[in-house]
C-alpha cells in the first residue's frame, strides 16, 4: 500500500503540475505569460506521455504540440500587439453557471472513467492490434495503426492539414520576414538545420519499427524551416511556384494513388499487398513528411507567399487589363 502510494507520488506531482500549469496559463491576463506557460504545459505533457509508455506521442508533442504550436502562438503575439480587442465582461451569474457546469461535467466524465477503467475495465483493441502487427508490414504498432489499420484516418488528417494551410494562404499575405540574423545565430543555423534534417530523416526511417514517423519527421523538418526563417531566410527553405504546390500535394496524392492503385488487382482500398506494405508505407511516409513540413512552414509564415498566385496570374492579368 505504502509502496503503491510512493510510486504514485511522481504521478501525483505530474498531474498536479499539469493542472496547475493549465490553470495558470488559462487564467493569466498577460497573453505572453499564458503562451509561455502553455508551452511549458506541452513539454510537461510530453513527459507524461513518456511516463505512460507513449514515446511516439512524446516526440510528437514535443515537436508539434509544444514546439510548433508554441512557435505559432508566440509569433501570433506579435500580431496581437497592434489590435485592441475589447474584452466584454462576462457577468458573474454566467460565470457561476459555467463553473458549475464545468464541475458537473468533470465529475460525470470522471465517474465514467472510474467506471470504465477501474470498476469494470473493458477489453479494447490492444490485443488485436498487436497480434496483427506482423501483417502490417511495420513493427512499430503506432505506425501500423496510423498507416495501415487506420490509414484512412491519416489520409483525411493530411487533408485537414492541407485545408488549414490553404486557409492560411487564402486569408492573407505572409508576415514580414526577419532581418538577416547576426553571425552568431547564423553559425548556429548552419549547424542546426542540417542536424534537424538528418533527425527528420532518421525519425522517418525509424518510424517503421521504433517511435517516430512521418508526423514527427515532418514537424522536425518544419522546425528546420522555421529556424531558417528566423535567420532571415524569408522563404524558410520552401520552394516557389508549382514546386510548392507539388510538395503540398505530394503526401496526399501519393497516399491516395497508392490506396487506389492497390484496388486494381482486386484489393480493397488501402489494402496493401502484404509483401509490399513496408515499402509502400515508407514511400507514403516520405511524401507525407515533405507535405507536412511544407504545410507547417507555410502555416508559420502565416499567409500567402508572393509567388503563390503567380501560377494563376495569367488570367488575373488579363482580367485587369480588360
Amino acid at each position: 500500500m505504502m509502496s503503491q502510494s510512493l510510486t504514485m507520488l511522481p504521478d501525483l506531482v505530474l498531474a498536479a503540475m499539469l493542472i496547475g500549469l493549465a490553470w495558470a496559463a488559462l487564467s493569466s491576463d498577460d497573453l505572453r505569460r499564458g503562451v509561455v506557460l502553455f508551452i511549458a504545459f506541452g513539454l510537461l505533457l510530453a513527459i507524461v506521455w513518456a511516463r505512460l509508455h507513449a514515446p511516439d506521442l512524446a516526440l510528437a508533442e514535443a515537436a508539434i504540440g509544444a514546439g510548433l504550436s508554441g512557435a505559432l502562438l508566440l509569433v501570433a503575439l506579435r500580431d496581437e500587439a497592434g489590435g485592441k480587442e475589447t474584452a466584454g465582461r462576462v457577468s458573474q451569474v454566467s460565470r457561476w453557471m459555467v463553473d458549475l457546469f464545468a464541475l458537473i461535467m468533470a465529475c460525470l466524465i470522471g465517474w465514467v472513467l472510474w467506471l470504465t477503467m477501474y470498476a469494470e475495465p473493458a477489453e479494447r483493441l490492444a490485443q488485436l492490434a498487436n497480434s496483427m502487427l506482423e501483417h502490417s508490414g511495420v513493427s512499430n504498432p503506432v505506425t501500423a495503426v496510423l498507416l495501415n489499420y487506420r490509414a484512412y484516418d491519416t489520409l483525411l488528417e493530411l487533408v485537414v492539414v492541407l485545408t488549414a494551410v490553404l486557409g492560411v494562404l487564402v486569408v492573407g499575405r505572409e508576415r514580414r520576414g526577419y532581418r538577416q540574423a547576426g553571425p552568431v545565430f547564423c553559425g548556429l543555423v548552419h549547424w542546426l538545420v542540417p542536424l534537424l534534417i538528418v533527425t527528420a530523416g532518421y525519425l522517418l526511417w525509424v518510424g517503421a519499427h521504433a517511435p517516430g514517423g512521418a508526423f514527427q519527421a515532418g514537424a522536425t523538418l518544419a522546425a528546420a524551416g522555421i529556424v531558417l526563417r528566423l535567420a532571415g531566410n524569408d522563404a524558410a527553405g520552401l520552394l516557389d511556384g508549382m514546386l510548392l504546390r507539388w510538395s503540398l500535394v505530394a503526401g496526399i496524392g501519393l497516399f491516395l494513388l497508392v490506396g487506389l492503385g492497390v484496388t486494381i488487382n482486386g484489393g480493397l482500398f488501402l489494402q496493401y499487398p502484404e509483401a509490399w506494405s513496408g515499402s509502400l508505407i515508407l514511400v507514403i511516409e516520405s511524401a507525407a513528411t515533405a507535405s507536412i513540413a511544407a504545410a507547417l512552414v507555410l502555416a508559420y509564415r502565416g499567409g500567402r507567399p508572393d509567388g503563390w498566385l503567380s501560377v494563376a496570374d495569367y488570367d488575373n492579368n488579363r482580367e485587369v487589363s480588360r
Partner: protein
C-alpha cells in the same frame, strides 16, 4: 491501475478547465489556448486508456488517434491564428 485513472481524471479536469476558459474568455488567443488545453485533456484520457501497466504492451490505437488529433489541433490553431491576424490587420488599416 490507479495512476492511470489519476491521469485520466486529470485529463477530464483539463478538458473542463479548457472548456470553461473557452466559454468565459472572449478574445481569440486565450480561447485558442483554452481549446488546446482541452484537447490535451482529451488526449490524456486517450493515452491513459492505452496504458495497460508496465508489463503489457500498450494499446497503439489511442496513440495513433492522439497523434492524429494533435495534428488536427495544430492545423486548426494555425488557421485560427491566421484569421485572427488578418482581422488585426484590418483593424489597423
Amino acid at each position: 491501475m490507479t495512476q492511470v485513472l489519476l491521469y485520466a481524471l486529470t485529463g477530464a479536469v483539463l478538458f473542463m478547465l479548457g472548456v470553461r476558459a473557452a466559454l468565459l474568455r472572449d478574445t481569440v488567443l486565450p480561447r485558442l489556448l483554452a481549446l488546446n488545453v482541452s484537447g490535451a485533456g482529451v488526449f490524456l484520457i486517450f493515452v491513459s486508456l492505452a496504458y495497460r501497466g508496465d508489463s503489457l504492451p500498450t494499446d497503439p490505437v489511442p496513440h495513433a488517434l492522439v497523434l492524429t488529433g494533435l495534428v488536427v489541433a495544430v492545423s486548426a490553431t494555425a488557421l485560427a491564428l491566421a484569421l485572427n491576424r488578418r482581422l488585426r490587420e484590418m483593424d489597423n488599416e
